[in-house]
Symmetry: C2
Subunit: 302 residues, 2 copies
């Protein structure tokens, strides 16, 4: 059983699920406010300073661990379906991962749907990456990192860069990726009882709000289960054992492996969606972040 501290995340997710289901007409501002609570499970990491910058014209919060090598950058893409969430919800999580990796992190405030339909999110991430290269950062000292929809964007950004012939980053970290816009994973059914946040209507609304009818649910950039993943750098994918999106991760890992990518896959035992949010609060979160740092640190150029 997860410890009591780890239950904080599941309880938070359940409270959102209850509130959203109690108010199916909830407006987008209120939905965003609810998801802004996403920072709550994560405790402030010590020894990290912050500033606000832009990269390729995209605003971001930069996390600077006091001892970090400032030439190493995690381009962090927050979750929230591309519709909710922000640099603020993920600042502490990104800073924990940056500390564990010995790097800085750039938490992008990419544009959100439905105001900015997909692929604006990936376009912003690509622009930020290109901006980093223009600022003189070395590709082999950059990784893309993300969770949930941001866990997919962390990969699709690199797919885009590959198609544009840009030098790729050193590695990708994809926590609880959400990419299957057809909602067809086995865990969508098998984990319906154990999942704390996601349900099918919520996900259907998220898909609508992101794609806005302008992109097919089988578009390979939106739905990486249809993408060509060959030529990508090493990927670390994680998924919570109890979450309905578990098999987005399982299948992505499988497909990436089949495409010849160096893939590491972790199932967080008895964990919910993006269990790394528990960093600083629960040992399950701290250890998950440590594993990311231990995997990612050596893959970034010195």
């Amino acid at each position: 059983m997860p410890g009591k501290d780890a239950e904080f995340l599941a309880e938070l997710y359940r409270s959102w699920n209850r509130r959203i289901n109690a108010n199916p007409e909830m407006d987008i501002d209120t939905q965003r406010d609810v998801f802004e609570e996403w920072h709550l499970p994560t405790r402030e990491p010590t020894g990290v300073t912050y500033d606000e910058v832009t990269a390729g014209g995209v605003p971001a919060i930069r996390c600077l661990p006091v001892d970090a090598d400032t030439g190493r950058v995690l381009l962090f893409l927050h979750g929230g379906g591309g519709v909710v969430g922000s640099a603020h919800t993920h600042r502490k999580l990104a800073a924990h991962i940056a500390k564990a990796t010995g790097a800085t992190a750039l938490v992008l405030d990419y544009r959100l749907g439905p105001e900015s339909p997909f692929p604006a999110q990936v376009e912003d991430a690509v622009a930020a990456y290109r901006g980093l290269l223009e600022q003189g950062y070395a590709p082999n000292r950059i990784a893309t990192v993300g969770d949930s929809a941001g866990g997919a964007f962390a990969i699709s950004t690199v797919v885009s860069l590959r198609e544009q012939g840009v030098q790729l980053p050193a590695a990708i970290v994809s926590m609880s990726p959400y990419t299957d816009m057809e909602l067809s994973g086995d865990a969508m059914v098998d984990n319906a009882e154990t999942e704390a946040l996601v349900d099918r209507p919520l996900m259907e609304n998220m898909v609508l709000a992101l794609l806005v009818g302008q992109t097919e649910v089988t578009d390979p950039l939106a739905n990486l289960l249809y993408a060509d993943l060959s030529g990508l750098p090493p990927i670390f994918i994680t998924a919570g054992e109890l979450e309905m999106l578990r098999d987005d991760g399982t299948r992505l890992a499988e497909l990436a492996g089949e495409a010849g990518v160096d893939v590491t896959f972790e199932i967080g035992k008895e964990m919910q969606h993006v269990y790394q949010f528990l960093a600083g609060r629960a040992v399950e979160g701290d250890e998950a972040v440590e594993r990311i740092g231990a995997w990612l640190g050596p893959r970034l150029g010195p």
Copy 2:
């Protein structure tokens, strides 16, 4: 005229006012989520690290400017009527003020009404202050600082400490204090057109949610216009020229002066409630924070 950047705060306030008035039945969770946006006007201050601690059993975020004297502590009491707001909404503001002062800040997550009626908020602040003394911090190196309801708590905490015979802190900063639970200030009428956030129904609900019928609106600890302010340390009070709560500040400054307290009073020309939130975004916010630091720094023991 305030610059365009300063308008961000007024626009944010107007958006809250619209949303709350459009939904008079808004539940407390949603109200709190709306007010959690309060951090948005303030940009991340550079060179500050954070951790989460407790003082006297009360949880808090500690702001540690990298060059600050860690023996100097601002006990920061956030605004929100004692009902909404949190250490998160005020972390960046407190950190800006700590930097400008050459001190650390402890942003308390005191208990909120209506779950914890007044004076739980002041009791928590008193407990935190006593906790600091027990940890070995010198009273003459501590100041209480707050905004809105927290601007009143910053004073009432010291009134409580005086009554308990505890050594008092060196100084008090009270930004846009809200303490007149009778809502009787001239500016409640005179500034009704220029105010962006506050209106009478909102304030009446805030009073109800904080006092829960257990404390009179003329109770001297809740309503400092009825308090004995003699013997308090130097106080810096600010109020926005355009805000409906302006005269809570005006009258508090007058009463403190009559009680023989060393009072400095600042009117923020063409400014809204707690205009210091604009720190890092607008020159009006940066200069307001600089003035606090210039006043407070020399009043804290070396």
